[in-house]
Symmetry: C2
Subunit: 434 residues, 2 copies
Amino acid sequence: MQSPPSHPRVVVVGAGFGGMQTAQSLAKSGAEVLLIDRNNYNTFVPLLYQVAAAQIEPESIAYPLRTVLRHANRTQFMLAEVQRVDFDHQLVETDNAVVSYDYLVLSTGSQTQFMGVPGAADYGFPLRTLDQAVTLRNHILHRFEQAVREPDPMRRRQLLTFVIVGGGPTGVEMAGTLVELKKSLRCDYPGLNWQDMQIVLVQSGDNLLTNLPARLGRYTARKLSKLGVTLYFNVRVGQVTDSTVELSDGCSLAAGTVIWAAGLEAAMPEAVVAPQTARKQKLKVRSTLQLTDYANVYAIGDVAAGESNGIPLTGVAPEALQQGVAVAHNIRRQLLGKSPKPFSYLNKGRLAIIGGYGGVGKIGPILLTGFLPWLMWLSVHLVYLPGFRNRLMVLLNWLHGYGRGDRAIRLILSPQPAVKRPVLTTNRPLTVES
Amino acid sequence: MQSPPSHPRVVVVGAGFGGMQTAQSLAKSGAEVLLIDRNNYNTFVPLLYQVAAAQIEPESIAYPLRTVLRHANRTQFMLAEVQRVDFDHQLVETDNAVVSYDYLVLSTGSQTQFMGVPGAADYGFPLRTLDQAVTLRNHILHRFEQAVREPDPMRRRQLLTFVIVGGGPTGVEMAGTLVELKKSLRCDYPGLNWQDMQIVLVQSGDNLLTNLPARLGRYTARKLSKLGVTLYFNVRVGQVTDSTVELSDGCSLAAGTVIWAAGLEAAMPEAVVAPQTARKQKLKVRSTLQLTDYANVYAIGDVAAGESNGIPLTGVAPEALQQGVAVAHNIRRQLLGKSPKPFSYLNKGRLAIIGGYGGVGKIGPILLTGFLPWLMWLSVHLVYLPGFRNRLMVLLNWLHGYGRGDRAIRLILSPQPAVKRPVLTTNRPLTVES
């Protein structure tokens, strides 16, 4: 290791849960901190599905990064896209500058993995970024507008069929919120036959929410069934086209919307010398969260194959947050000439929201189902949402939405993405009257 | 005129102030009403400039049209782009249907007029739609991010120079809100020299807000000067390039942002037989708001050259709202075999907001300047904003913004438009350190 200069520079790449926490925890460490992200805001990913379902404004789950860092000493933000990392020369190359570092924290998160399924990347809607959430919202609402003027019943049913691929938290949340959306749109489209709206969830395994105890997954499946969601288990998607989802069992579903919530891989920027990776391209790290090959480079969150006491982490926000604190602590130790300490995750519990006022959770040994974990999920996420103003806005939207069964943000705000997507109905005149 | 069928059909094209009011006022008229718009929401245009200046969320000034019409009998909404109108066959051709009408109300508003200035349409930012407001917001915030990493002082000053073309209400509002934005961004960019930020307003005449008494325009100019806005009077823009504004007096302003608020023309859809128009392509209408050539076609708002007691209207929202009520009334009269009545505008007063807690107004014979008309402007617009939820959201943003001098929505949410725009800084590495 080099001897650090008077103000050693720590570069943090990626301002998700882990990166933002690292930058904040490094304030007053004496180091010069540079946080780099391609957006000028932090996205509160757990509530993305609510943006996609027209429940809350995109602005209310985005928090300006410069505001986060306002009171942090010697901490700067740079809006840039990282293009390459040179571990040997300790350089981060971005689209507008080359930055040197003494310590580097990689917290670049994950990206959607389409697993080679033909058409999935072209016709499936991922849900990992705020732009994607708004695009999906516009598309979903556009489908209702198309359906209401579609005279052919088969095509109408197709327009209103939503297929969700993946039975993890995102897939379950989307299925549940689409059920709620259906209820709140009834008044808006009195002409529609609501039996035409189909919500289908396709899961490759035999249970949902596989990171939680199997009993909770089975409860979730029963709850979604009761809400009217059609569940397909032990089936994989073989192909996605502009109007169908082809399943591995030979079935073909006519669908107007395919939401791809089925898997992700590490979003690691290119490196001059590629570091060691584990499954899903995740970076191999030591128990101290340092890269196996570089003692001055840390990797946290979804980009890293992190462990806690030998057990692999599952990729949830609290893990990344605790890793951010730990990395800041370890860098401080290194600055003082001490050796970094192993990371240990304190699991305070897990919650998942389903919809229809139902959720599941595991707090210590206790399993929870129904209304209580639903309310706990909302409360916890409201508390963790950055910014008082955002919290208030989201709370008001929830009171309005869950209280009155209504959604205020039914706006197709940027029609372009919906138009670029394949449109099922042609532009032929549907009702020529004279 | 044809004898109307049992349920005569009124088609309203355009859901701005006038069109939405017409559709609402026609409820319970016995007619079948179809409201057509290219968006599924009504845009509250007076607050667009606040969206562009990161003061309020775009969602809070958009109101879903289907919600407006929920309780209106026999009233339907269609999301469509009108492509052609055939007055003789009484048909409206849209991109997804051809619709016949017994009565037609044209309320398609206005569009930005670049008046043949080279480069204005390519490099000037108009501010007429919600998409344009969001695009401008992203661009403005992006300029600060570019400026903070720009080492060359000349280029930094250029990036932070905002030229507003036009001294009407939009130009004045934008100048004022940019001054306020400057204050609220100080904490975010401690490294910037704020004297580099220049706000310039270019006006072709010798006063601002020419639709109001000259004294109010002069007050507005003094107020903006005091706030630090540079005002150019009696100067026209000859050309806009990706980095300059060329003025008619030979001056050239280096600018990173050009906001085009200088003129508009009627946004009339194509017609099989073109109707008679007045200046700015506005449709000629009788005193009853009927087209001169067609007794069953009405035109209101910015698309029409409307008058009240022989005096031309000025194109403000209350005029369109009152015209909407009048048109609904006249169509009811025609349905009953009576003849339409002339429209008469009741002017309750005019207000304009400047910024820095200042505004101007004229209520009857009384001229107002300063804090009172500023507060009245905000109050009136809060009351007229459709939707309780939107009102609450905007109020909270104002309390936060005007109270604390802060803006919460400093988000570059869709980076694409900013990237497509000419970028002044090149992608060369600015700070190579090693």
